[in-house]
Structures are given as C-alpha cells and as structure tokens.
Point group: C2
C-alpha cells in the first residue's frame, strides 16, 4: 500500500450551463486539473455521476469522457452511489493508486441537472431513495429530509429557526468563491421568511439543482515529490453504508453509515475529530449538516444545531464547515459534489482559499453522502507543505 | 500486488423474472456465491448494473443490495460501463484485492429489463451509444450493429447467411445450461428464415432482453488455499476503450478497444491467444462475435466469420465460444453479463460445465464489451487444480 497524494485540482463554476453538455463540463474540469498537476497522461479515469442516464439519455460516461478529453484507450468507468458518486469515484481511484495498479488516476465528478423541467429532476433524485418502499409511495427526496428534520425538532426540542446558521454560514462563504452558484448573503430573518418546500424544509434549507464538474489527479506521494510538487496526502479513505429506506434504520436521527465511515477514517488516519481543521460535510439540507456533525463526532446527538448556533461552524469556529459555500451555496451537482468537496479541502490545505482561508489548516475532512445517509464516503487529507 | 482467485460463483437463471425485483435477483446470486465460497462476510461489494435507474427507477444499488443481502455497513458501489458494467465491477474488485485494500470482495452483476414495454427498453439501451451524436438522430443500438454488419459483408465479401454458425453454436450450447434463457436448438435454415429486426440483423443475430444476476467472490490466492479451496486464479485483468460513436473510430470494423484490452491482458498473463482454451466473448449480436474474434487475435480481419463457418467455435473447435449459450442464448441481462461470463469460465476451469465441458480446459478468457466496442474488459483465468 502506497501513500496517495492529490497533485492537481480543477473545477467549473457551479450553475446553469445550458450551453455545455456533460462531456464539455467534464473536459473543462479535467483540463484544469491536468494543468495544475503538470501531467499529460493518466493510467485510468473514474467518473462520478448519478443522473446522466435519467436526465440526459447518456450512460457509458467513462469511455465517452475519456475519448473527449483526448485519452482514448485508457481504462474508464462510471461510478454511482447516488449523491455520493463523486467521492465513490475518488475512493476507487485511491484504491487503484494505493494498491499499485495505477500511478496516475484522474477522478472527475460531473452532473448536468438543469436541462430538464423540475418535476422530472425531483423524480430522478428520488432514485437515491428506496424505489419500491419509499419513492413508490410518493416520497420525494426533499420529503425524506423533511421527515428527518421534523423528527429532530420533536426529539431534541429545537425550533425551525434554530437551523438558520447553516444557510447563513454557507452563503457567507460562497460570496468569496468564484465557482459558487450563489453570491448573495442571507440573514437569519431571510431564512425565517423563506418559502416552504416540504414543511419544515424551506428554500434556504435546500441545496440547489445545478450543473458542474470537478476533477482531481491522484498519484503516489513519492512520485509527486519527484515532480517537485507539494502534494496533499490522503491519510484516510473510508466507506460506511446503511439501509437506504429511512424506516429500515435503527434510529433515523443517527446516521450509522456516517458514523461508521467517520470512525473507519479516524482509525486509518490515527486521529480523532479534534485534529480536523475543517470539515466539508454533505449539507444537501440543513438537517443533513446537523446529523453529519453528530455522526462524525463533532457534537453529541441533538447538539449539531447547538454547535451552529454557538458560531462554531464559521471560518474561525471550532469546526469550520462549508468553507467555500458547501452544497447549499456553492451548489450541488449531485454526482460531482464529492469531488468538489475534495478540491475545496485541497484549496484550504494549500492555503489557496483566499478570503475564506481557515488559518493554519493542516488537516481537512470531506464527507460525501449518498441518499439520506445510506452511502457515506470520508476522506481525510493532510498538507505536506 | 497479490494473486487474486475466484473462490465462489453464483447465478440465477436468465429469463423473465416478473415476480422478483432487482434486489431479490441480486440476493439469489449472492447467496449462491457465498455458499460456494464458504465465506459469510466480505470487505466490499461492487455491483455491475447499467439500467436500474432508467428501467426500474432505482439508483444507489450498492447500499441497497448490501443491506438486503445482510451486509449493512460494508463498502458498496454501483459500477457502470454500459453492457460492460459486470466485468467493470469485477475489474475494480480485482484491483481492490490485488492491491491489498480488501481480502474478500463480492462482485454481483444484476439487471432487470423485462418489466418495461420494449420501445422503452430499446431507448434505454441506446444510452450505451453517443446520446448527442448517435441516439439523438434515432440510431438504436440494434441499428448501430446493423451498420457494422452491413459494412462487414460489403468489405469482406461475405453473405448474411455466413453468420448462421454463431446462432447455431450458441443455442446448441444453451440446451445444456439450466441457467440459460433458451433451450431450443436452431438450424442454419431457421437462421435464414428468422424475422428481420434491423437489416441485416435478424432475430437470431440478437441477444434477448432478459433479467438475471450473477456473482463471484474474490480473495487472494494464498487466502483461498488456506481455506482448502481449489481456486481459479485471475491471471489478467485489463481494460481498453475507444470512441463511443462509430463515426469517430478510425476503422469501425476493427475494435481497437478490444484489441487494446486483449493485448494488455495477454501481456499481463504472459501468453497469447493460442494458449486460450475457451473464449467467452460478447456476442450481443453475431457481428460482435466476429469482430471480437478478430480483435482478440483469433482470426485475421475479415476471417472471424470464416472461423465460425469452419466449425472452430464449437466445444471441440480451436476457439470454443459461448460455451454455455453466450449472450445470444444464455441471455443478456446487460449489466450482469460480464459476471455471467466469469462464472461460466470458472465452471469450465473447474470441470463443472457438464455436457458442455471443454476437454482439458486450463485457461479461459472472458471479454465483456460496453457499447459497440467503446469499453472492453478482458479477464484471463487459470485453473489451479
């Protein structure tokens, strides 16, 4: 097993890219990552994507993107784990480089969601839930999160308004990220007045439907050093899963998949949550941010919202989250999100996060979730500068 | 890098399983493979599947199948490479075990295609082609193969009837495979009279729309030997890709992706095509069988059909193909096919192929193709008995 580094990163702005197809979005991110890494050939390409078939009529993205990016012939597959597809692709790239099967692996996450009318997109996203036992009864993905949020408020005695800091923090950080979809600040008052989508989930609890692509280049740490790069090392890569349907879980308010994934990652890295300088979590909905903080050990069950209310999730807080805007305000092109998270952790660890730089960031964690907690992939990275 | 063995195999019959869902089909194959392997826990589960989203409204198969199979918590993803998805999952399982990331990996290929009306299935299968530049113009996947077959007849001066041996051989072998979809022999005369689907591709040139699941258990060879098993060793695992759209290829009649994949596999195994005792190729259409034989070095360009006409593809021939019925007559549940092929090679190498046993089979090759040649995954296996 070899130490693996991220030696290059690239991303497109997240937004509505009606003028670009899937392959063009992927290409832009790939070209930026290859230039950043200073390499012009790779041994394999893994593409994270969830909805290309349903929303654009295109499966078989591996070969398609490889050819379009000038890499015809190279090993290439699409990896899918619902909204966790991006980090799933990163995980398998890590496995290939770590085990010695490949020296340089390119991982790209890409999603194109805005070409279809919204009812269709909502139905497509429900494929992350249990088709036979949830979606068949009309449960949309937003509704699943609404059930969790309502239950959280009931069990832990907090109010809807208590969730405001998640949206406020994410939007504040997105203002300084040129690749973020939104550049508007929101206030607690705006949060309280935001239109309801699926009670109690309102517009500012929800990440937006978006297009985008992000890419990273992986290589052995030794190899990267020979190139004269200052790499970021992946010190943990771990996966945990849980039941897909909410009603099949032991305790819907405790994300066992996330706890398992985090625990395995901490064990592999030989550290605990106190050593994490920033945590790019999966804030597809405010409730997911709260539950992730709890499952990963940053707050006791029921205290995730309290951590946010206490101001501890900001750039100067104890656990900075969504430092470049998060899923909420950078945007959430679902199959690309896990790679965006990795790119942003690398930006922080390189000291390239601009106005959003977390001071003295040495160790960062990215956690990407598929479904409402059924597939959870955690990566911990360390600066070698 | 460790030597990797297949220590367990399982499969459902291929057919129309209207009473079973995706997760049930997967479970049946998994249970059989685990019993065969004599293990009750695995480190990871990789699911090969192409069309679960489009045809059953279910993505996120990794966690879903893991939970249903009693493995909640385990690392699990879906891998997609069009009709090559099954072998793509096998490839990534091989990478994980070989590199030391996992000791026991379960690979399951599953597809459920018969619940939807056929026009919808045909449209879904076209997602293996280039959505923007082929499917958008109305090219179905059968039509793509018809273009190739017509061009082959024109370039090499052979007739439609010359393709009969592929269907005759596949159906003859399927008769003795209890898991095959078809158990009827066909004659050259029946082939000539078969209804045309997309001229010159007729009904007996085409693999059927099917449901099915197959599974294999991977482990290090040393580990398998300690268990007292007589494993089948994977001596090569290789991938090659090409342009997805036919018009983007240098020569549509030469499958460069397949040639690359085969060449890489031969190099890894240190052997050539003359050492292969049987070749489970991707006969989704007769023309694909001919082109695969040529790309993998068993026949010169234009001579694949000749090899079949000379009787060399039968169980006693120089290159036995479709020994358990192939995609044509065992059936082609697209994302499962690559795993069925691996299961059948193992059956042959263990001497468990019954009436279809290839005499003295020591080395077998399986080649799974995504699209009309854009993703090609080759595995070569060797008996350690």
């Amino acid at each position: 097993m070899r130490d693996v580094a991220i030696i290059g990163i690239g991303q497109t702005a997240v937004g509505e890219h009606w003028e670009l197809g899937l392959r063009h979005l992927a290409l832009h991110a790939i070209q930026a990552a290859l230039v950043d890494a200073g390499v012009d050939r790779v041994d394999a390409l893994y593409v994270g994507n969830m909805l290309s078939g349903e929303l654009t009529g295109q499966e078989h993205l591996g070969a398609l993107v490889a050819d379009f990016a000038g890499m015809r012939g190279v090993e290439a597959f699409k990896i899918e784990a619902a909204c966790g597809s991006g980090a799933a692709a990163l995980r398998l790239g890590y496995v290939a480089v770590s085990g010695g099967m490949a020296d340089v692996v390119l991982v790209v996450g890409v999603e194109k969601m805005t070409d279809m009318a919204n009812p269709h997109t909502t139905a497509a996203l429900a494929m992350a839930a249990d088709a036979d036992h949830e979606a068949a009864h009309g449960l949309s993905f937003v509704a699943a999160n609404a059930l969790l949020m309502r239950r959280y408020m009931y069990e832990y005695g907090c109010t809807k308004d208590d969730f405001a800091p998640f949206a406020v923090n994410a939007h504040a950080n997105a203002v300084n990220n040129p690749c973020a979809m939104f550049h508007n600040r929101v206030t607690p008052e705006a949060y309280i007045r935001a239109p309801m989508i699926a009670d109690p989930v309102n517009l500012l609890d929800s990440s937006p439907v978006s297009d985008g692509a992000a890419a990273v280049v992986l290589a052995p740490v030794e190899w990267a050093r020979r190139l004269g790069r200052t790499p970021v090392r992946i010190i943990a890569s771990a996966v945990g899963t849980d039941a897909v349907a909410l009603h099949d879980r032991r305790n819907p308010l405790f994300l066992e998949g996330a706890a398992l994934s985090s625990h395995r990652a901490y064990q592999q890295a030989g550290i605990g949550p106190e050593a994490i300088d920033l945590f790019e979590l999966h804030d597809a909905f405010s409730i997911m941010a709260a539950l992730s903080l709890e499952a990963a050990g940053f707050a006791a069950p029921g205290q995730g919202v309290r951590l946010a209310l206490d101001g501890e999730i900001g750039l100067q807080g104890r656990v900075p989250i969504a430092t470049m805007g998060g899923l909420k305000a950078r945007g959430h092109p679902v199959g690309a999100t896990g790679v965006y998270q990795a790119v942003e952790v690398v930006q922080q660890l390189r000291g390239q996060a601009g106005a959003n730089q977390v001071a003295n960031a040495r160790v960062g964690m990215a956690q990407n979730i598929g479904g409402s907690g059924a597939t959870v992939i955690t990566h911990i990275m360390e600066s070698l500068a």
